[in-house]
């Protein structure tokens, strides 16, 4: 089933592409492709609902994410993410000044 949603972003780890206070439109579907360099919405056991950019998929089928900012929580700290924890792909972001941007 195709699903569309809106989230408000808190934090600057995806800055400058997605800034603190931006709104993001995300979508998900059963056939959603998980592609490196795209930004996804994850359900993390420690951090809750987070958005991060996919870095790579390892040999065991786990996904490794990181933020765009140098200050972002590190890839290692986020840890391996299973496919089932990825619940959306960020389509575009809405900023108060620059309007719509595609991260």
């Amino acid at each position: 089933m195709f699903k569309l949603g809106i989230d408000k972003i808190l934090g600057d780890s995806m800055s400058p592409n997605i800034k603190d206070g931006n709104y993001v439109i995300f979508f998900s579907s059963k056939r959603m492709k998980i592609i490196p360099n795209k930004v996804y919405r994850l359900s993390h056991p420690q951090f809750g609902s987070i958005i991060k950019r996919l870095s790579y998929e390892d040999a065991d089928g786990n996904f490794w994410f990181k933020g765009d900012s140098h200050d972002s929580t590190s890839l290692k700290k986020i840890g391996a993410i299973a496919k089932g924890q990825i619940n959306g792909r960020i389509w575009f972001s809405i900023d108060s000044e620059s309007g719509i941007t595609f991260p």
């Binding site: 949603g5 809106i6 989230d7 408000k8 972003i9 808190l10 934090g11 600057d12 780890s13 995806m14 800055s15 997605i18 603190d20 709104y23 993001v24 919405r41 951090f47 809750g48 609902s49 987070i50 958005i51 991060k52 933020g67 900012s69 200050d71 972002s72 929580t73 590190s74 700290k77 809405i94 900023d95 108060s96 309007g99 719509i100």
Partner: protein, 168 residues
């Protein structure tokens, strides 16, 4: 325009929030908050023991007893939280190599704090102070700052390790 519309909808209905976490190393670490929390545990333990010695207790005494227990509990949580932050975020390989006892010391602090929370035991809370004083000594040494011991200028007036910041 679109942002403004979403913002006003958000104010009315509140969208879900997704975090974009940062790990900015703020570098502000100081074990004094741990030491003060332990001194508070000792002080509340003293006051609880004093109350316990009263033969007849008024409703106010009972209320005071509850408040003191709550304070002791709260400061025990503070000790654990603050020690965890310094140990987990500040201590890295060079500090741990210099002071290999750190892991064991931190574990002892955790266990002794639990004991101090569970009991009204002056000896346990004093043992906890000596452990966090050692933790402070190690912390300041890793920063190349000398320490000295002095009695804190308020109850329970016990010896605390302070950094000698004038020298550095």
């Amino acid at each position: 325009m679109l942002y403004k519309i979403l913002n006003s909808i958000d104010k009315k209905f509140t969208f879900n929030v997704s975090q974009a976490h940062c790990d900015i190393p703020c570098k502000i670490y100081d074990p004094i908050e741990i030491q003060v929390a332990v001194l508070t545990i000792i002080r509340t333990t003293d006051l609880l023991l004093e109350l316990n010695d009263k033969e007849t207790k008024t409703p106010n005494d009972n209320a005071q007893f509850s408040r003191l227990v709550a304070q002791k509990e709260e400061h025990g949580i503070k000790v654990k939280e603050s020690v965890r932050v310094i140990w987990g975020d500040y201590f890295k390989a060079p500090q741990l190599e210099k002071f290999p006892e750190t892991h064991e010391l931190v574990h002892k602090i955790m266990l002794t704090t639990s004991k101090a929370k569970q009991n009204i035991d002056k000896d346990v809370s004093l043992e906890l102070l000596s452990l966090v004083n050692r933790f402070a000594e190690i912390f300041w040494d890793t920063k190349g700052i000398n320490v000295y011991k002095a009695k804190c200028p308020y109850p329970p007036a016990l010896e605390v390790v302070y950094p000698d910041l004038k020298e550095s």
